[in-house]
């Protein structure tokens, strides 16, 4: 049996760090050791930041974004055009679109996609919340920005059906050649979608 070299507190820290995406047991040990070495400069501030975030983080009751206030910063931003709502699968997608800074609009986070294999149905996503927002009458466009996967597009078509009774514009992201993409290396499905969605030059 392997002898223990640390106390249970450090073992627990390593076990919890190993659950973070991107970290395995080995990298969790490295991270824990780094935190221990930088106890005052890093571990203390990190612990208090996590404690504060734990107390204050909540899910926005309007759009589903994660923030420290409800409604969130995006929903209360007066400079955003809240009549356009970008529908995304996850908060990570919202952050990615914000990094692109291509649209100054409101958001709606679904919380996933319809996935029969994982048992995720419409009731497990915040589709009803989106329909409620549209029913209030302040929305003129819904941009469905879900992943270009069959599950993502199934969800997109389902949402389109649910919103078919409202007189709003429903759009979705284009599918095609990514910036910097070389045609020779693209898969056939992406190339076919790009050709079908060709635009006038």
């Amino acid at each position: 049996m392997q002898k223990r070299v640390t106390g249970p507190e450090i073992e627990r820290l390593i076990q919890l760090l190993a659950r973070v995406p991107g970290l395995g047991p080995r990298s969790a040990r490295r991270a824990a050791l780094h935190l221990i070495k930088k106890k005052d400069q890093l571990m203390g501030p990190l612990a208090s930041a996590m404690n504060e975030a734990f107390d204050k983080v909540r899910i926005c009751s309007t759009c589903g974004n994660a923030d420290t206030s409800d409604p969130c910063t995006v929903c209360t931003d007066p400079t955003r055009d809240q009549s356009v709502i970008i529908v995304v699968e996850d908060v990570a997608d919202l952050w990615a679109l914000e990094r692109a800074a291509a649209m100054n609009a409101g958001y709606h986070v679904l919380g996933g996609t319809l996935s029969p294999l994982d048992g995720v149905g419409p009731d497990d996503l915040s589709i009803a919340g989106l329909v409620d927002r549209v029913a209030r009458g302040d929305v003129r466009e819904i941009l469905i920005a879900v992943n270009a996967t069959v599950e993502g597009q199934t969800t997109a078509h389902y949402i389109t059906e649910q919103l078919s009774g409202f007189e709003i514009k429903i759009t979705r992201l284009a599918h095609g050649v990514p910036v910097g993409g070389e045609l020779d290396y693209l898969d056939e499905g992406t190339l076919a979608a790009a050709i079908r969605a060709r635009t006038a030059f």
Partner: protein
């Protein structure tokens, strides 16, 4: 253990941070699962989409192990299927039906039919009718096939317009007249494979017919709800059929 086969992706489940467990419908090995290492990479993600046909090599130390797939793309349908509601709901609805089959039980006929229907999903005149035939084929492979060749009461092979909800056998117009309200409508294109004309009314009747027997023999005994993708597919197929033939929305009788 090792085999090589052709298969169509039904669905995926994340496995760790880089891999996936792929569920495929293979020709000779039935519905089969296996790990694809690196399945969440940029290179493999477009390949591992439901509806795509793959060349698969499955390896495991023992036959009962989950095993690992090595995959190569044969036919990239997913991009085309994603373009339409009928495409995405169709592939999901058929995948849900194939999940009713036991794992690793060969159903080569269903694999071939699945491939043919996936290639026809962008043809509204065919998609709905082919899908109903697929549902009836799944029922048959599960041991609950309908007999639509002859009247259950008289044995005649023509004028079949009803199906008995009890026996799942066709009933002629004459024999079924007294119980017409209790019988299910049998659209003409189901017993007659030569009949090419399928209108929205016939298709709706066909969806009701196959849905009834799937519910009674499969979903209810297993205590599961019919997949939501089926309802979405039926709605999309009927809408597409109406849009493709808005003028002639009902089939004309031959000679009229």
């Amino acid at each position: 253990m090792e085999w090589r086969d052709e298969g169509i992706i039904l669905g995926l489940r994340k496995h760790g941070e880089t891999s996936v467990i792929a569920e495929v419908m293979t020709k000779a090995h039935g519905r089969h699962l296996g790990i694809v290492r690196g399945g969440r990479s940029k290179r493999l993600q477009p390949v591992l989409q439901p509806g795509n046909s793959l060349d698969l090599v499955w390896r495991a130390r023992l036959d009962e192990h989950l095993g690992q797939f090595q995959v190569e793309l044969l036919d990239a349908r997913a991009g085309r299927l994603m373009e339409s509601a009928i495409g995405v709901h169709g592939v999901q609805a058929m995948a849900a039906l194939l999940r009713l089959l036991p794992e690793r039980d060969s159903h080569a006929r269903l694999h071939d039919a699945f491939a043919v229907i996936l290639d026809s999903l962008d043809t509204p005149e065919q998609a709905g009718a082919l899908y109903v035939r697929f549902e009836l084929a799944v029922l048959e492979d599960l041991g609950f096939g309908l007999d639509l060749t002859a009247c259950a009461a008289t044995g005649v092979r023509s004028g079949l317009i009803y199906v008995s909800p009890k026996s799942g056998r066709a009933v002629s117009a004459e024999a079924g007249a007294p119980w017409a309200e209790k019988l299910l409508a049998l659209p003409a294109f189901l017993p007659d494979r030569e009949q090419a004309c399928v209108d929205a009314v016939m298709l709706a009747q066909a969806f009701k017919l196959s849905g009834y027997f799937l519910g009674r023999h499969v979903f209810e005994p297993r205590g599961v709800e019919p997949p939501i993708s089926r309802e979405s597919f039926c709605t999309a197929a009927l809408r597409a059929l109406r849009q493709s033939a808005p003028v002639a929305n009902s089939c004309q009788e031959p000679g009229s």
